[in-house]
Amino acid sequence: MTAGADAIVVGGGLHGCSAALHLAMRGARVLVLEKDTVARHASGVNAGGVRRLGRDLAEIPLADAAARVWHAIGDLVDDDCGFQPSGQVKIGETEAEMAEMAARVERIRALGFAHEVLIGADELRERLPAVAGHCRGAIVVDGDGHANPFRTTQAFHRKARALGVRFLEGTAVRDLARAGGAWTVDSAAGHSQAPVLVNCAGAWGAAMAAKLGEPVPLSAEAFMLMVTQPMAPFVGPVVGAWGRALSFKQLGNGAVLIGGGHRGLADPDANRAGVDVAGLAASARTAAAIFPVMRHAAVVRAWAGIEGETPDKIPVIGESATAEGAFHAFGFSGHGFQLGPIVGRVVADLVTDGATDLPIEAFRIDRFAN
């Protein structure tokens, strides 16, 4: 029996840590239950891309608000999280792609967002001298960039702890029950009670939601990354491609991190994510096509992290549609790292004020009900 909490957060990933931190900043006593260790899953092993570029229209206002937090991340968590505002670039390889990209930039401009900018071949080569000759142009977002995911999640964890949040690691939540205006959470640590429950269980989020009687068709995916031996510096910004899956960046030590949505084998029950060589080969082809210098790189390690993906590839954020005092933030579908600092604030808004000033209608859990 763990006593005296105002809120219990399930999951010690970036979203659980951020929600806990923001609740604590408003004076709440928070308990976080994490089945493994903080940052063990997607939040600790992702590509660290801090990207507004190319977001689903519904996510843009959140991503835009998050970007502002990222640029002053030290004010929030007393650590710069390794954030490098080196920019993000999404490359077009054909004229047809360039036309689609121009339409995209126009479309979000009409919504009032000016961060995405279309550039032509000359400027692309100026920004990325190593890019392959066939690339036609790109959408760029200055001020986007990348951060160190493990360090970021640990910074949120540390700051939350400093504000009194209690974390129990190695503590899996097994069951939830609501009675007399309070949740009783059954875990390896016994029964814990609090009026508020926050589900930040990542790829396991649907299992929690199911306990509240609101099923979500979430699939657990093993997104893969690989890293090379250090190379001489040749690229600053994070690079993606419009027409194929790619996420590409060179880290401070010269190593190149290559990802881009190819999937390995996820076994969420066993906590395992394995790599699939065919998918890695596809990533390697894309990387070598866009940066010919990469042909000489040596891959030294590949890994996968488990992430929850929804059918519409945007997360579930908001109040439970079935249970009182329960809130969700999970299923970030491969791009929730950048959103971490803001979604925690949204959750705290909902818990403490019952509303938030950011648009989250699109993320309602009951969108899957019919």
Partner: protein
Amino acid sequence: MTARPDIAVVGAGPAGMAAAVAAAEAGAHVMVFDEQPGPGGQIYRAIETPGPAGDAVLGADYAAGRGLSRAFRDSGAEYLPGATVWQVSPDREVGVSVDGRARIIKAGAVIVAGGALERPFPIPGWTLPGVMTAGAAQIALKASGLAAADAVFAGTGPLLYLIVDQYLKAGVPVRAVLETTPWSAYLGALPRLPGALLRAGKLRQGLGYIRAIRDAGVPVIRGVSGLAVAGDGRAERVAYTHGGHRHEIAAEHVFVHQGVVPNVNLTRSIGCRHDWDPAQACWRVATDAWGATDVAGIFAAGDGAHVGGAEAARLGGQLAALGALCTIGRIDAAVRNNRGAPIQHALAWELRPRPFLDALYRPAAADRVPAGDDVVVCRCEEVTAGEVRATAALGCLGPNQLKSFCRAGMGPCQGRLCALTVTELLAEATGRPPDAVGDFRRRPPVKPLRLAELAALEPDDTDGGDAGP
């Protein structure tokens, strides 16, 4: 990508060669991969193309490998030299690079016979140029007849004396041998002597090396502790404690060695279960009597599974071949048991002296876990023992968390050179047994793979989906 061997063997040392011979004899289609240019493994390195060193220098044990390598060549097993295996998947797909081309070969069973590695020897100055392992010094001698004169050899284990002996036979002067076997190890080993005496020949061989070294006038200083190498940008001198006093010897080459341990990178990356072996203070893959791991169709044999020396590796290879043949349905269990019984008997006999040798040559705790905080533990990322201890003090319990916190084990060697030190350091710092502390997760590729080769692998229908940059 067309070949589908019944049995794939990784490694053409005594274990891999013997496995291949036994499996091919039974009619199986066998493919053997080894990154070296010729068969032989560590002990019989360059056995088909002996360098200037020759049999007279390398000894009778070395020459004995020629029979096995001939049988291997004649066995009908398909052998690919210069073939680096960078992945084996749990469903027995072998990812291998030959001549700059990567391939995936699916086998009915895989026998991992990748051999051992020298145990890390984390002392002050071990990263200085001029310091290398005695095994690396032996490789230079075997492969190209190259040897550095007036080196100091330091450490413990039977191989150390063998290599010094080989140097002397090659006419290369050796400055001194600093033996780090702690006195307590002699006492610890004593009760295990009777079992070992049954194989007195083996023990006599070891004593023979020591006598030869002494006869050659090389000082052998026993019971040495506190080894440290120092110098300005490279090794210039070795310091050590002996008889309660610090001493120093000038040396530009210092060859260190404290035994060999299984190389678990491949079996770990497959996901096989591993246990801590307290006698040899290392991880070893869990297998049954036929070398079968807990992953179906994946076998392990030789010093990569359990350090027992070349003859034990050869026998273990034969047993794994029988196990694999049975798994793929080439022979039934009765035949396997029948053919295996005499081999198992011989293996038990071969391993008789092991408990004694393990106890005698167990490196001192202080040589496995550096006392000083400035000693580098992870060479790739230059992480010191002090940093590991500080991270443990922050609440980091295991090697994988440690990796994220301070990058230890993140380099291209994937922990091959620091994993044991890290496990034992964390065990000491957190007061938990090594088994509870665990080991680094190893990820494919277990050997660096050129991106162009990976890119050239056949396209497939993997759904790219929405990127998560």
